[in-house]
Symmetry: C2
């Protein structure tokens, strides 16, 4: 507290790190690339989990749990899959420690070497499809709609709190279907579900689309994604849903008997969102004063700060506040009455501003006399005086209004950060000066995609689902193009 944050326009990246640590969301641990998610940050993730879990179950999915470890031979079974993950695998090679004979301390026991190394799951397609072989015999066993909440490990070299960590928390859905269209429908359904969650709960507008071949998940036929736009003009991939074809069914020999009695390979999808969403949430809404949280995901929606001298005044305030707290809670609103006497009101105001609590009430002796509260909203930083008998309705209104307002603000920002360009020169200029999404024609080749990436660091974020076909010419090669794609620098 006390110390102000670096401003976003001075150093966005520094602002982000200071905010994550200052608002008590997370911090780096003593383990390279692994973070500690602190209670306040974890409470946001729990809110996200609860809502997503509800949405998954409502669409017929069930939760299960599969092993943390994947035998090396499993990971190797799908060629492009292992190719994609081999470079960042944490490998378990031994199963015991012992005291060194020379008394120098604890060492890995060389006699306890595993016959086959185990990989800490970077994702679970292989161990799950090895299991599905036992679960699926007939069309009656399909579809199989399973989700798992889990930790995964990818040995990233450059890590950032929430955005890219060696270990992260996520959910991974793995579904099995009898037909190709049904699997594609599932992958698309989840993309829409993710977009619904992002927009209606995180208040983060996203663009839905498909990835180019080079950006696809290792082992997928098609990768659907949702892409958000952060305040520094960089895009963030917030969720992906993959149509896996029969790749994993073939690698793990998962066949089913059709109604007609034939044996066919099963069709698959997988999809996931992770604690990265917390990073996206932070970067979409927060300001130079700290976090701005959408009411639907705020661990504390309303904080009440008493302003008093002596216990007698505090007692008088508490007498007024306790029934209010009770009433708000009965309406499902999470309220904190911060009556700590170890900190001054000004300190508390700063703390809740930094922590992004949507609505703040202050109440002192004069308010009691006037029958009013001072109400501040975090998104606009505006204050007003509200009569006590109107306060509950006011708070209910504010929680909805703040959710709507920050979404609208984010949509406006995103919309003004989509620029259509027709030349590569213009493309570079916009990328340099303005950032954001750039909508341009591309010839569809990996070669051109890589050239653009090498020269500008921009990647194709997606081929938007909602975009219309439009004949044009690739901005780089001039070759014909059927539709525009979205480029951006990205997290």
């Amino acid at each position: 507290m006390g110390k102000r944050l670096t401003k976003r326009n001075e150093d966005y990246s520094k602002w982000y790190n200071e905010l994550v640590v200052g608002a008590d969301l997370a911090e780096n641990s003593g383990v390279r690339g692994c973070m500690v998610i602190k209670p306040y940050g974890f409470a946001i993730w729990e809110k996200m989990q609860a809502e997503l879990d509800r949405m998954f179950k409502e669409t017929g999915h069930e939760n299960a749990y599969f092993p943390l470890f994947i035998p090396k031979s499993y990971l190797s079974k799908e060629a492009s899959h292992v190719e994609g993950f081999a470079k960042e695998c944490a490998v378990v090679t031994h199963y015991r420690l012992k005291n060194a004979e020379d008394g120098s301390g604890i060492i890995v026991d060389p006699d306890a070497k595993l016959e086959e190394e185990l990989i800490v799951r970077p994702t679970s397609e292989t161990i799950i499809w090895d299991t599905y072989r036992r679960w699926i015999q007939s069309y009656r066993d399909l579809p199989l709609l399973i989700n798992q909440w889990a930790n995964v490990v990818r040995w990233e070299m450059r890590t950032r709190l929430f955005l890219r960590t060696a270990e992260f928390l996520w959910q991974e859905g793995h579904t099995a279907h009898a037909t190709e269209p049904e699997a594609i429908e599932e992958a698309e359904k989840i993309m829409h579900l993710y977009a619904d969650f992002a927009e209606n709960h995180m208040a983060m507008p996203v663009i839905k689309g498909t990835k180019t071949e080079s950006e696809r998940f290792a082992g997928a036929i098609e990768t659907y994604c949702i892409e958000g736009m952060m305040q520094d003009g960089k895009a963030l991939q917030a969720g992906t849903s993959h149509f896996l074809g029969q790749n994993f069914a073939k690698a793990f020999d998962v066949k089913f008997a059709t109604k007609e009695g034939n044996q066919e390979y099963v069709w698959a999808t997988s999809w996931g969102v992770s604690t990265r969403l917390v990073g996206a949430l932070i970067m979409t809404h927060s300001d130079d004063n700290g976090l701005v949280l959408p009411p639907k995901l705020a661990p504390v929606q309303v904080v009440i700060v008493p302003i008093y001298k002596g216990m007698e005044q505090l007692d008088a305030i508490s007498e007024k506040i306790n029934p209010l707290v009770k009433e708000l809670r009965s309406k499902g609103i999470s309220v904190k009455f911060d009556n700590r006497d170890t900190h001054k009101p000004g300190f508390k105001f700063n703390e809740y501003e930094l922590k992004g609590v949507p609505v703040r009430l202050a109440v002192g002796q004069r308010d009691l006399e006037n029958g009013t509260y001072e109400v501040a909203r975090r998104d606009t930083l505006t204050k007003e005086v509200v009569p006590m008998d109107e306060i509950v309705a006011k708070i209910e209104f504010l929680l909805i209004d703040i959710q709507t307002n920050i979404f609208k603000k984010a949509v406006d920002f995103r919309d003004t950060h989509i620029t259509q360009v027709d030349t590569y020169k213009e493309f570079k200029k916009i990328l340099e000066e303005k950032g954001g999404f750039i909508s341009a024609h591309w010839d569809g080749t990996l070669e051109t995609e890589n050239r653009i990436k090498d020269e500008t660091k921009a990647t194709i974020r997606c081929i938007p689902i909602d975009s219309e076909r439009e004949a044009g010419n690739c901005m780089v090669t001039g070759k014909p193009s059927e539709r525009r794609v979205l480029f951006a620098k990205a997290y």
Copy 2:
């Protein structure tokens, strides 16, 4: 399905394994010692989690998340702790795979060896206390009451589904306090909370007590536990809560400034329950027909099976059932209307009996005419005919009555399986012929405890909290003893 379970009195262990697999709770995976928790088994664990999480939060605890990996040097800092866990640690030594140069496949890249090995957490005291050093400076930062839901790995050589697996899911609470009495109070509070959960939600009676020194958690000053009694006369440790003294604070140098301005080491507790509880739940209530679930933890509390010929009859039944399902759900009762036409009613009856659904309704053409349902309860396997207009009240009654009844049954079983003995000869006889808890005098030495264990396989399960002091003589050595302790063979 189809095939009956082995009977409990024929082979209890075989019965257990068949039941876990047959009721779709869990199965072994391709990874040694690691299980796959199937959707139905996971749904029971989710119900347990939801209730425990509510209880933890109600008592002031917050969730957070700490890294999966623990640097070897951290684990080594508390001497007795590493001694306790060294023999069963999964060790990560490398962070990359690559293609073998001879084309033989994927190998661990020898160039990607970690400077310091990482241990997959067997428990998190060390990484958490390394973190607490940064979080705790002053008495104002205390108490710190934190819980984590996580997976942990202990490389057990002999594993059994739910009861003992290399990887398991659990919660681990880690609290920090300014004083010794406060930490002891916390450890005891959690023991009582666990007992409350076991008895009032799992319907499993438990005995609360403390462990002898040899059975204590590695690094604890005192271990509190709850012990259940399974139907085969073996005890099962269902939860432990540890008073850790200042051991970890000293190992990780965690001091705080007292109100008076002195620097003192922080006092600690840790406590956990795991997916082992699912095994305890199964073994406490189930019978030769399958699972028996307490209504409070049953994923499906009521199943409705239509008995019909042709779509017309099913439609008539559905018309009656759909509003009933809606009404029950509005009361928070989980209901499944199993209208699958791929399976016969008899098959469904067997399936739900095996899966332990507490209440089953059957409804056919004749019931419609008579305005009745056939209602079966899983615990007693009895059936009765209930008028339609009384069905909701009947179901509400049954869900409470089954919960009460199976708890009472388990208490009766447990109480008749506590035997007081005064001689070692009698002890051995009871252990052999009857099993259960044996209450006996013991001289308090490790030597005698070990001798009894070696000769009979019985261990001291706990020194019961509620037991009264009673002067006596050790059944083995004749030396004086102040109170009886509880022995049993155990899981």
